[in-house]
């Protein structure tokens, strides 16, 4: 789907929603939650991408861990493959993490890890969607969706608007469709502030299954790269543990076609560069 058709669809749905759902008087602002969710997911994220990612984790006492990685992501039809290679610190350099995300919810994802100190590729157990991703405050599901959201897991409603980082946003509330899903995701409620111009979430607040405030994710430094809106910084504050995670992306490149072979166990062991 190219950008032009996307825009067309967006305008079309906007018009439809204005005429069908909202009385013209209150006008365009009152979009339904579902509609907003669809717009977010309609945003282009490129067929494939390569980028440098610095993961910074800070515990509540201010102790820092920093890991520099190179990441690649490519769609194989509906299937998404991701590979991450650790560059530093030295003692994990060369470690690689390969994931195949299958579109069907009931098929477990495949994950492999290459440990250079063992010289072996190891398969690791499929994670639950709500599990922490590599010791960060993101869950596997957060990482998998990147800046998108899941239509089938939540019920959406439009609950207002606010300014976030100087941008106008529409606030949507996401409630998991049932208890099982809530438990899987680890969330009982999510409130996202969605930029109404570029349809990207700028801020999301999460509550755990017991209704405690869990974490806040800020999406910042959003710039267009090769025509695609790209967040260059993700910041998570875990309110329960006081732990922080900052992801900083650089050298983002959507244009270079990535070789399919990169997403294989052989290449995982060989590494890049």
């Amino acid at each position: 789907m190219n950008k032009q058709t996307q825009k067309t669809i967006a305008i079309f749905t906007l018009l439809v929603s204005i005429f069908l759902i909202n009385p013209p008087a209150s006008a365009e602002k009152k979009l339904t939650g579902d509609e907003i969710a669809r717009r977010i997911n309609a945003r282009d994220e490129g067929e494939s991408v390569s980028r440098k990612l610095v993961m910074e984790m800070i515990d509540r006492r201010g102790k820092r861990r920093e890991r520099v990685t190179l990441g690649f992501r490519k769609y194989f039809g509906d299937e998404k493959r991701t590979v991450i290679f650790y560059q530093s610190p030295k003692n994990v350099k060369g470690t690689g993490f390969l994931t195949y995300d299958y579109p069907k919810a009931d098929v477990d994802d495949d994950q492999w890890l290459y440990l250079p100190a063992m010289r072996k590729v190891r398969r690791i157990s499929a994670s639950d969607r709500g599990d922490a991703f590599l010791g960060t405050d993101f869950s596997y599901e957060d990482i998998k969706k990147e800046t998108k959201i899941s239509l089938e897991d939540y019920q959406y409603s439009n609950i207002g608007e606010e300014e976030v980082d100087g941008h106008h946003t529409i606030i949507i509330e996401q409630i998991p469709i049932n208890k099982e899903v809530a438990k899987e995701l680890g969330y009982s409620r999510v409130v996202s502030s969605v930029d109404s111009e570029i349809w990207m979430t700028r801020k999301s607040e999460f509550w755990d299954v017991r209704g405690n405030r869990l974490k806040t994710i800020y999406t910042r430094e959003i710039r267009k790269v090769q025509g695609i809106w790209t967040a260059h910084r993700l910041e998570v504050i875990n309110h329960k543990t006081g732990h922080l995670t900052n992801f900083t992306f650089s050298e983002v490149d959507y244009s270079e076609g990535i070789d399919d072979d990169l997403f294989t166990k052989v290449m995982l062991k060989r590494g890049v560069r």
């Binding site: 006492r61 820092r64 861990r65 994990v92 398969r123 010791g135 329960k240 732990h243």
Partner: protein, 800 residues
């Protein structure tokens, strides 16, 4: 001469007091109401932690460790099953999950810090790699699944003994508290939860752990106080009734009790000082002490009335007060000195508070006795006590059975001083033998009776699992990732093996155990690979690998975020000081001589270490308290009697009392522990009253009434002796009520002080007079002056 001047001033004062009785009574009531209005603000602090000053180095360090690794004193729920499968049957495992889920919903429990079979992850090696997954996630449907869980758990050495009994018959749910001051409420919620749990598969469930102990003590104390305080009040009222058989003789002292207890608790609340475990003893102790002064004054009052039946009420009161203010003031000062001895000598906040507020209570009792008692009496008409017979002339004083008994006793002592002293010497020798067997020890769980559920729970857990007493060893390296160096990890492993050789240490856990488990998992679970890897990079990569599917907080209790600090936890099956001492000292020695090298050091922490330091300093503070109290009491007595020897003689009965208490403790195996350590200073402060009254009366009889010493003895026993007997009854039964407390340390404390005051009383009535008889001390020589200043001619008290 000085005494006369003082007495004239006292007369003046008490005539003023009896002239404005209503105003003073109103002021007294107002003071009580004001103080009592603060009492609802009182907070309770039953944590054992409360006994240790927050700035104690061991506590400061432990708090720092807690900040890094978590590791708060937890609530521990044990599920036990004697079934051949142990807890590894579908029903018990589902019960553990049920409990775990419910526990996490209890307010005040940290839902992130619950450890049980239902929360922990297994690290399994597979052909392709490593699997980290919960031991079980869903309902266990059949025995086959339960057996699988058993296999997995039994193959994870780290959890054996710590989370699951080695024989599989028990498992724990360990929950940390968000707020330890809510322990009582949380403990009660847990008990309720446990009683509702579907434990119909042969399981028994216990709630124990340090958090539970604190919680249990809270409700224990409430129940105890509700029972003890009314009993003490009734007992004291009965004693007062038998002493005088008049209504006022019961009501007025009870009003003083109200003032004493009300003010000291009210000020405690107003100063925001919490009610500790031992504060429970305070009201009871104060009830006994508060009435002592009025017992002596009322005795004098009725005595005066019996001798001068025609006097006005005011004259009677003024005369009684003028006669008694001096001994009452001295005994008040000495009792305060005793309690302040506790305050100054003890380093434990609850002890300090006890000493301070007991002293405050005694001071308020004194004020009420000096002001409100005469004011109250002044409002009443003279009404003789049936036990103090109206007499005419100067015949024998009143003679109810108590006086007759005391007279006989006095006669005997006066005629047999040597017998008394020789028997005393014998008692002292035997006591020294007993006292030498005194043992300093403490065990928190022994604060409970052996039939209490918490005691049974503790016992059950210590029997089937590694125990609930933790010694933490904090490992420190100078730089981040210092603990990824294999040599350091091997050093930790050696430390663990050493700790496990110490008595009562049942197991140890550290990050090393996890790393070995991971190493084995990465080698297809081959048993011989349950060792530390040699490659530092591999260690770092194991942690990264683990983070791919494990919870980021999984190692929080074992290692800090930048791999610089680690915690080794040794579990002991006893919380007894004498056992902990051996382990702590051995561990300390090992750390200093074997473990510590440049680049890695260790330091002890945890509950066991704190206990060790705390109880070790208890002995010192106990003896320091005794010495301080003795000096203070001696100083008071010597100054008021203006004789160093008189001060020394006043100490003889309490000295004996303390020695005999040590002997009783030594012979009967009662430990000198936290609860019992308070007895001595209190015994001094309370017990010295008897010798003060004896000496003061003797001085007054010899010097003012110019009686020869033998005749003075005869006079002493029926009057002062009788009042002292009731004073003794009040204090003895006051502490006696404490002896029936459900809290064993309080009960022991009450019995010991009971014994101590008995000894003080008896010695003041026997040893002290005998010594005085033999020594003929200078301060008891009659004055050479012939002219006696007229004291208290009856007619001078006709106030208008």
């Amino acid at each position: 001469m000085k005494n006369q001047i003082l007495n004239t001033r006292a007369e003046h004062f008490f005539s003023k007091v009896t002239t404005y009785p209503k105003t003073l009574l109103t002021l007294g009531i107002f003071a009580i109401l004001l103080a009592v209005s603060f009492i609802p603000q009182l907070t309770k602090d039953t944590r054992t932690e409360a006994f240790i000053p927050t700035d104690h180095p061991a506590v400061v360090y432990r708090d720092k460790v807690e900040e890094i690794f978590g590791l708060k004193d937890p609530m521990v729920i044990s599920v036990m099953n004697d079934d051949p499968e142990g807890v590894f049957n579908p029903h018990s495992l589902n019960l553990v999950r049920w409990l775990t889920d419910r526990v996490s919903e209890i307010p005040g429990i940290d839902p992130e810090r619950i450890t049980s079979l239902a929360t922990e992850d297994d690290i399994i090696g597979t052909e392709e790699g490593m699997l980290i997954e919960p031991f079980y996630e869903d309902e266990i449907a059949n025995q086959e699944e339960a057996t699988k869980v058993r296999g997995a758990v039994m193959d994870f050495p780290l959890y054996l003994g710590s989370l699951v009994a080695r024989d599989g018959n028990a498992t724990l749910i360990v929950a940390e508290l968000l707020d330890e001051s809510r322990a009582q409420e949380i403990y009660e919620s847990l008990l309720k939860l446990v009683s509702e749990a579907p434990a119909n598969g042969g399981e028994t469930i216990h709630v124990a752990g340090e958090g539970a102990v604190a919680g249990y003590l809270g409700s224990y104390i409430d129940a105890d106080a509700q029972r003890l305080n009314p009993v003490a009040a009734i007992v004291i009222s009965l004693i007062l009734f038998f002493a005088y058989r008049t209504m006022r003789g019961v009501m007025l002292p009870n009003f003083i009790v109200l003032g004493t207890v009300g003010i000291s608790l009210g000020v405690m609340a107003a100063m925001d000082i919490p009610f500790y475990i031992i504060t429970n003893a305070l009201p009871v102790v104060l009830i006994g002490i508060a009435v002592a002064d009025s017992i002596h004054i009322l005795a004098q009052y009725y005595e005066e009335m019996a001798q001068h039946p025609d006097s006005t009420q005011q004259a009677l009161i003024v005369r009684a007060m003028t006669q008694m203010w001096r001994p009452v003031t001295i005994t008040t000062l000495t009792t305060i000195a005793g309690f302040m001895g506790i305050y100054f000598a003890s380093f434990m906040p609850p002890m300090k508070a006890f000493g301070l507020f007991a002293a405050l209570g005694v001071a308020s009792a004194y004020l009420f006795t000096m002001i409100v008692l005469p004011a109250g009496l002044a409002l009443l008409k003279p009404l003789p006590s049936p036990v103090f017979l109206i007499r005419t002339g100067h015949e024998k004083p009143s003679s109810d059975r108590y006086s007759r008994f005391m007279t006989k006793a006095g006669r005997w002592v006066a005629t047999h001083p040597t017998t008394v002293l020789i028997s005393t010497a014998l008692v002292i020798v035997i006591s020294v033998i007993g006292a030498l067997q005194l043992e300093v020890n403490e065990s928190r769980i022994d604060n409970f009776q052996t039939k209490e559920v918490i005691y049974l729970a503790d016992q059950a857990i210590n029997e089937s699992l590694d125990g609930t007493a933790y010694l933490d060893v904090v490992i420190e390296t100078p730089k981040a990732e210092g603990l990824l160096i294999p040599a350091n990890l091997r050093r930790i492993e050696a430390l663990q093996r050493y700790l496990e050789t110490l008595p009562h240490v049942k197991g140890t856990t550290s990050i090393v155990d996890y790393l070995k488990q991971m190493n084995r998992a990465m080698h297809e679970d081959q048993p011989e690979t349950y060792v530390l890897p040699e490659d530092a990079d591999l260690l770092a990569q194991y942690f990264l690998l683990y983070s791919a599917s494990g919870d980021p907080s999984d190692f929080e209790e074992e290692i800090d975020y930048d791999y610089r600090l680690a915690n080794v936890r040794a579990t002991m099956d006893t919380g007894r000081y004498s056992d902990e001492k051996i382990v702590v000292e051995a561990a300390q020695h090992y750390i200093q001589n074997t473990f510590n090298v440049p680049g890695i050091t260790a330091k002890l922490s945890g509950r066991v270490n704190i206990d060790y330091h705390w109880i070790s300093s208890l002995t010192e503070s106990h003896f320091r308290g005794i010495v301080l109290a003795l000096i203070a009491v001696w100083l008071m007595a010597a100054l008021t009697f203006r004789s160093a020897l008189a001060g020394l003689l006043a100490l003889v009965p309490v000295g004996m009392a303390i020695l005999i208490i040590y002997a009783v403790m030594g012979f009967s195996g009662i430990w000198l522990g936290v609860g019992t350590s308070m007895f001595a200073a209190i015994a001094i402060g309370v017990g010295v009253d008897f010798s003060i009254h004896t000496i003061d009366r003797l001085i007054s009889l010899v010097k003012e009434d110019e009686l020869p010493l033998t005749e003075a003895f005869v006079q002493l026993f029926p009057s002062t002796g009788r009042a002292m007997l009731f004073n003794f009854f009040a204090v003895f039964f006051g502490f006696g009520v404490l002896a029936t407390s459900q809290v064993p340390p309080l009960a022991r404390f009450g019995s010991l002080v009971g014994v101590a005051v008995s000894v003080s009383f008896l010695a003041s009535m026997t040893v002290l007079p005998a010594l005085i008889k033999v020594l003929q001390p200078g301060f008891l020589k009659p004055k050479n002056k012939v002219v006696e200043v007229e004291i208290m001619p009856e007619t001078s008290y006709e106030f208008k």
